[in-house]
């Protein structure tokens, strides 16, 4: 293992992480809801369910974040390394996988672990492990 010191951003990543944790805390403490992005999108794609306006407004805030950011400074670098077919395959897998697995990096990784939920710890270990394995296969076995 070699550390990528050039791209390592400990302070901004830590500060961003704290903001994410505070945002999830606000939604739980004030609204009684888990800030799981895949769960919120998924429930809005289904009929019925309570609190649709609250869920939609949380997601709207998330969507508008780069526009607010852009008022004050230039947006951070956003670089894609995947072609069209890869993006489609990735999107489908993320969509199906997060719904079957009842959560993603936010719902399981942040909220679930903060609740000390064994289910979320197992889910996080699973998607981390398959994420590491997938990048290993693509970059080091297939050499893409």
């Amino acid at each position: 293992m070699t550390l990528d010191w050039l791209n390592f951003t400990p302070w901004s990543s830590l500060a961003g992480g704290v903001m994410i944790g505070l945002a999830a805390s606000i939604l739980l403490v004030a609204n009684g809801r888990i800030a799981g992005i895949s769960g919120l999108i998924g429930s809005l794609l289904q009929r019925g369910g309570d609190g649709r306006a609250e869920k939609a407004l949380f997601l709207l805030g998330l969507l508008l974040a780069p526009l607010l950011w852009g008022l004050f400074s230039a947006l951070p670098v956003i670089e894609f390394q995947t072609g069209t077919l890869g993006l489609i395959a990735a999107g489908l897998l993320v969509g199906i996988g997060t719904r079957y697995g009842s959560g993603c990096t936010s719902g399981h990784g942040v909220c679930g672990i903060s609740r000390l939920s064994p289910r979320s710890m197992v889910a996080t270990l699973c998607f981390m492990a398959s994420g590491f394995a997938t990048v290993f296969v693509i970059r080091h076995l297939l050499g893409a």
């Binding site: 992480g17 994410i20 609250e54 390394q81 199906i96 079957y100 936010s106 994420g131 990048v135």
Partner: protein
């Protein structure tokens, strides 16, 4: 009031993702590439988020109502079933292919990159496919 707190929380969540570097797929892939030149930044994102959330979440778990009077809606499932594990493994494969998970996908959707529009449409299709399969299984 709950609509306002939900909107503000979403905005703060998105700003946090942008600041953290999670919104850059190349950086996420750099974190997932432990065998290559490894960028550990995103471990700090998750660590920072969990440290900030631990105490409020601990408090919330002991309440039946939120501060604004909404029922506290926490997941009740306990079992480690094949759906949880299989679904999470599939999600990780998708995450590893493109370096994008659902939160960052929405946080960069309006930045004008065509790639994220393709990804989000495919992700929504995947979620709708899940809903269709589930409702067929239920009848």
């Amino acid at each position: 009031m709950r609509k306002l707190t939900a909107f503000f929380a979403g905005l703060l969540f998105g700003i946090g993702l942008l600041l953290a570097g999670m919104a850059n797929p190349a950086k996420v892939l750099g974190f997932l590439d432990i065998a290559g030149l490894w960028d550990p930044s995103l471990a700090l994102v998750m660590g920072g988020a969990i440290v900030a959330a631990l105490i409020p979440f601990n408090w919330a778990q002991r309440q039946t109502e939120s501060l604004l009077g909404a029922p506290m809606q926490l997941p009740v499932k306990r079992e480690l079933d094949p759906r949880l594990i299989g679904g999470s493994l599939l999600f990780g494969i998708g995450w590893g292919i493109a370096g994008i998970c659902p939160g960052p996908a929405l946080a960069i959707l309006l930045t004008g990159h065509w790639q994220i529009i393709v990804f989000v449409l495919a992700m929504l299709a995947g979620m709708l496919l899940f809903t269709a399969l589930e409702s067929r299984g239920a009848h």
